[in-house]
Every structure is written in C-alpha cells, then in structure tokens.
Amino acid sequence: MTTQVADVEHGHENGHGPATGITRWLFTTNHKDIGTMYLIFSLVMLFIGGSMAFVIRAELFQPGLQLVEPAFFNQMITMHGLIMVFGAVMPAFVGLANWMIPMMIGAPDMALPRLNNLSFWILPFAFTMMMSTLFMDGGGPNFGWTFYAPLSTTYAPPSTTFFILAIHMMGASSIMGAINVVVTIVNMRAPGMTYMKMPMFCWTWLITAFLLIAVMPVLAGVVTMMLMDIHFGTSFFDAGGGGDPVLFQHVFWFFGHPEVYIMILPSFGVVSEVIPTFARKKLFGYHSMVYAIVAIAVLSFVVWAHHMFTVGMPLAGEIFFMYTTMLIAVPTGVKIFNWVSTMFRGSMTFETPMLYAIAFVILFTIGGLSGIMLALAPVDFVYHDTYFVVAHFHYVLVPGAIFGIFAAVYYWLPKWSGKMYDESLAKFHFWVSFIGLNLTFFPMHFVGLAGMPRRIPDYPLQFADFNMIVSIGAFMFGTSQLIFVYVLIKTLRSGEKAPQRPWEGAEGLEWTVPSPAPYHTFATPPKVD
C-alpha cells in the first residue's frame, strides 16, 4: 500500500485558523480540536475510573472491611466499569478517529463537522449526570456495569433513573460519532484511495463504527425497558407478568459482546500501523487482515450468550454459543500471526510505540487465550463470575485497548504537537506500566481458579496473599500513569521540534504534511496511486 502523494497543496481556501479563547473549543467544527477534546476527556476519565479502581484495590488489599462499606464498594465497581468502558476507552478511540481518519484518507475534515462537535459535547453532560448519582439519596448505581434486572429495576436505588438517561445520552453521542466516521470514510476518501488501499486504522474504525450503529440502539432499547419497568409498571423482566429477567441479559449482551470488540478493533488498527513502521516492512497479509476484521465483526453478533452459560439456557443454546465463540479465535489468530510475520525478517527498532505494540500482541494473546478457555461452556460453569473472568477482560482491555491507545498517542504525538516526546522517559513509563500491569492482573487468574468470586468487598482467607500482590501491582500501574501525564506536559512545553516524518519506516498521508499538522489539512484532496 504505497501511498504516493502527487499533489500536496495546503491551500487554505476557507483559510480560518483556530479561533481564540474558550469559544474555540465550545463552538469548534475542526476535527483536530474535537479530537483533542475527546482525548483529554478520556484521560480525565481514565484517572477518575482509575481512582475508583484504587478504592477497590485498597479495600481488597486485605481480608475484612477496612475502608468502605459493601454498599459503596458495589457503587465503585459499577462506576469503575462504566467509566472505563464508556468514558475512557470509547472516547479515546473516537478522539483518535477524529484526528487521524481525515488525515489518513486525505479529507479536509470529518464529513459532518457540526454533528461531530455535538457528539463530543454530549459526553461531559452525560458523565456529569452519571457521576452525580453517587451523591444522590441511596447512592449511585450498585448493580455492576452489566446492570442485570431485577437488581437494577425493582431493587435499584432511586438514582437509577438518572443512570438510564445518562446511558441514553452516551448512546446518542456514540451513534452520531459513528455515523460521522462511516460517512467520512465512505464519502471523503481522496481520489485514488480505494478501500483496499486504505490504512488499516481506517478499516478497523469503519467496522467499529458499523458495530456501534448496530448495537448502541439496542442498549438504548434495553435501558428504556428498564425505565418502563421501574416507573410505569411494565413487566418485561418480571416473571409475575410473563416477562423474564434473563431476557434482559440477552438484550444487554447482544449489545455487550459487540461492544467489547468495539473496544479492541481500533487498537488492532493502531498496532497494524505501528508494527510495519518500526519493522520497516509492509503489513503482512493486508487483505486477510481486512477479511479477519469483517469476520470478527460478523461473528460478534452471534456469540452473546457466552456471558450467560450459567443462566440455564437450553442445551442447544449452550452448544451453539460455545461453538460460535470458539470460532472467533480463527480470524483473531490470523491477525496475531500476521503481526508476527510482519516483524519476521523486518528491520526492527524499538521506540516506545513499538514497545507498546509488542506488549499488546503478547498480552492480548494471553487475554484472548483465556477467553477461549472461558468459551468452553462446561468449564465456564467454574470460571464464570470469578476473578478468572476479571483477569481475562483486564488482559484484553488494559494491555489491549489502553496499550493500543498509548501506542497511538506516542506514535502520532509528534504529528499532533509538532514536538518529540522524551524517549527515555516514555520507555520508563512503558516498563513500569508493563510490570505493574502484569503484577496486577496475572495473579487474578490464580485467585479466580482457586474460587474467588468477583464483585465482593471481602474474601475468605486463602485468597489473601495474591490479593495483596494484585493491589500492590495496581498501585504501581496506576501511579505510573502520572509519568504519562508528565511526558505529555513535558513534550508540549519543551519537546524538541519534530520533523514531518519522525519515524523512518512510516508510510501514509499523515506523514506528508508538516508537524504539527496544519489546522486544515487537505483542503485540496491529495492524489493517491
């Protein structure tokens, strides 16, 4: 996929630069401004969600109740899950999409710039509403991020109403954001940029956006039914009126499983950009990479009930969902093997983005393999709702989604800011994170197998040792993110000037424009052949 740019002309026909003052951010229609706001928002959310993880880990440091009451502990795990998923990971990906997609496909901006701004600005309001529930009478949502009925309906605290409406807002934001991405990619590619020449990051986001448009409305539907059960006496999730609590889970996971791929596909995209760059070699098997993403997305619609192996589904259902779930390993494996083959016989250097990408490949594979173990229904009868599951999903989410984001930030930061980050400090951040992360999440496998249920504020004595290690790891990993913030600030304040193409092996349109990228990039589309 050599993209040669015949005509790089940065005419500023509607040549406005950024406005000054606060209105630049409030009223902006510029994809770069909006991308920046998304990224900052997500960083703030990462810290809020991470602080909640600190509370969880501090309470679990030792057996017994020390810091918080069980009622509050449940609010913490719920908010931690929700904030990390909807506040940290998803907005970060949308931020990356905003920054990079127009630049990668040679478009002047996102297709629908005003809608883009709306998608962002809904989020601060939505999270204000959601976090305000913590201060309401009876506390915030305390039923886990999966909010199973009837704990989340009949038995829920009064603040649940606001939780539901906040979810509606986030859903609306995601759908609008996703529509924007799809339309941009489909309609705004520069002449000559065919689908099969598109950078892999754009491909992953195209599919992600499709997943978002398909499943966010389903989430909206399920919370709407909750709202009706709570306030209008309907009985969707109440057997007394002919409904079924398990129905809630089916609808939720129909959203929920594609959602987990929404949280990983863009990271796949980032890694597919970073590895070829630092291996100085083209991505191995571009076509099969594309087909693999499509296959993962399609399969993700028919595996949802693997989260529900213990709800007592009929045998045929268990078997169906076990088989389809296992099948996902095949396209995912193709991706892993292709990344490894890209490195194979390359000429590798190991700058920070590459370190993150390599850690991603290793640790995501570990998480994916534990996913395969979970997919075996009879064994999941033991794993389900233990820390083994917690270990699985943190391995795919933290070194998966979060490391993907870190890789992207270090990779493109020179392009965004025009400054180079401090390489040795960044490497330090990587190593502390890497060790801290494994110290946190690896022992969770052991306590899970040994029988520790998840979502408990206190645990029997035989789990004490490992939990202490986990908590120490968590403090280490969390604190190391302060290094990240420091690296960012240092880059912006005193980083060296970055060249147009700071990475020797980097290809793609974004490297054909100066660093920092001009406020309006491709007013005239570049030609790609």
């Binding site: 009223f27 297709a111 009064p158 109403t161 309609n187 448009i213 039914m225 009126g241």
Partner: protein
C-alpha cells in the same frame, strides 16, 4: 470525484453546544420528574426544567436547520456534501431499525420462550412449579402472578382500527411518493396537494392511535401494568407512534418550506430524507400490524 469540488467545512457554530445543553436539560428534567413521581413529591420544578429543555431544543432545531437551509441556498453545498448528508441519514435510519429490532426480539423471546416455559412447556417447563395456575397463551389474558399483574379484559381487535390504520399509513407512503415525483418534474401544485393528503393521513393515523389507547385503557383494562402482553404492545406501538409524530412534524416543516418555494427539482435533500423516514416508519408499522396485532 475527479473534478475537484470544494467541500464546505462550516465555520464555528454554537448550535451543537446549545443542543448538548438542551439534551441535558430535557433528560435531566425528565429524570427529576420521574423521580418526583416515584416519591410522590411535587413535580412543578422538575417539569419546569424539562419544559425549559424542550424550549431550548426547539430553539436549537429551528436555528441549526435554519442555518443549514441558508447555507444550502447560498450554494455552499457540493455534490459530495450532499452525499454525506444522504449517507448520514441512511445510517441514522439503520440505527433506528436496530432500535425496533431489539423490541421485536423481545416480543419473539417472550412469546416463543418465556411464556411457554412459565406455562410448563419446553426446556424450562419445570418453572411451572412456581406458577401452578398459569396457562401459556398469547395474547396473555391471565398472568402468572394475577395478584400483582391483573390481566387485561381483552385486546384490540386487529380488523378494526389497526387495519384502517394500516391502510392509512400505506396510502400515505404512496401519496408522499406522488408528491416526490411531482417535485422532480417541477409540478408544485401537485406537490402541495399530495403533501396535504399525506399529512392528513398521518394525523388521522395518530388520532386513531390515541383513540385506540383510550379504548384500551377505558374499556379493556389493557394498561401498562397488565403484564407482558400489554408491555410489548405499548412498547412497540408507542415507539412507533412517537416516530410517526416526529415524521409528521418533519413533513409539516417540509410542507411549509414547499409553500415558501424552497426545493428545486434537482436539489431537495430535506424532502427526500423526510420521505425516507416516513417510508421506514411505514415498514415498521407493517411488521407491527402483523406481529403485534394479527398473529
């Protein structure tokens, strides 16, 4: 796409943030109202917030769309941009399809799985032990727990108002297409005529729907509290009705714009978007008529 056209990137706009704030006020007010209702508190203030939000939203819609219309008039929009609008609308309708699909999925699950199980049939028929007096049936005229969920006395007969409504809505889809065709050949009188007919059909549909709900509540005891049959019935018809209402408002606005002389034979995207939406609502109704009322 070879010949390069300028893609219009709007200057700064304050409408998005007004919209975000409006949504916040509206939903916040709604949440407060519902909470007050639940705790039987006075809800004057909460309703006020909600209404304020609604006003902000109305102001925002008027302003934002006014802006877009003006830009379109000024010829700022290229073909490529109109492609973006089209695709955006298309994907938006797809998201709506998924919204309704979830509800139809719920209907399917309840009818095919949970009700038979509760009534002692199928793989989880043993659940019947908990509800010995319950008999699986659809429509559900006896609930598993009649003490808390009194069943409705009857259901809406599909062959009266619903059938009539089906005819009305299908007809309106046709008349809207006639209006569209007339617009394409520039026959504006005909456009106006068929728009009026379409609107009349739409509002009649809504009127009948309201009548049907009154009937359900007053005479059939078919209310939200009467078990899952009623829950799915009101969920599907209610959200459909809400969509017809939105669709009618869109068509009304478009009609006013037609009267004002907007739209040309080649360039009338708002008209098309409105009519796509209307057709979508129509298709949902057909599924609904069959699956909710008839079978």
């Amino acid at each position: 796409m070879d010949t390069h056209q300028e893609y219009y990137v709007p200057q700064q706009s304050h409408w998005p943030i007004v919209a975000a704030f409006g949504i916040f006020l509206t939903l916040g007010g709604l949440g407060m109202t519902l909470s007050d209702m639940q705790q039987q508190k006075d809800m004057g203030f909460s309703l006020g917030v909600f209404l304020l939000g609604a006003v902000v939203m109305a102001y925002m819609f008027a302003g934002w769309f006014g802006n877009v219309i003006r830009e379109s008039h000024d010829g700022l929009y290229s073909d490529q941009l109109s492609g973006s609008f089209r695709r955006g609308m298309g994907w938006f309708i797809f998201s709506e399809v998924m919204f309704f699909a979830a509800f139809f999925g719920v209907l399917f699950y309840v009818r095919v799985l949970s009700i038979p199980w509760l009534g002692g049939e199928g793989d989880k028929g043993i659940s019947h032990m908990l509800w010995p007096d319950f008999v699986a049936q659809w429509p559900l005229l006896l609930n598993p727990d009649p003490e808390h969920f009194k069943a409705p006395d009857g259901i809406i007969d599909p062959w009266h108002i619903p059938l009539l409504n089906t005819i009305l809505l299908v007809a309106s889809s046709f008349t809207l297409t006639f209006a569209h065709n007339a617009l394409k050949v520039g026959n504006r009188a005909k456009v106006k005529l068929f728009m009026v007919i379409t609107l009349a059909l739409g509002f009649t549909f809504l009127g009948f729907q309201v009548f049907e709900y009154i009937e359900a509540y007053k005479h059939l005891n078919l209310t939200l509290e009467t078990g899952v049959y009623a829950s799915t019935f009101f969920l599907l018809t209610g959200f459909h009705g809400a969509h017809v209402t939105v669709g009618s408002i869109i068509l009304l606005v478009i009609f006013v714009r037609v009267l004002k002389g907007h739209f040309s034979a080649e360039n009338h995207f708002a008209f098309e978007a409105g009519s796509w939406y209307w057709h979508f609502v129509d298709v949902v109704w057909l599924c609904l008529f069959l699956l909710v009322y008839v079978f």
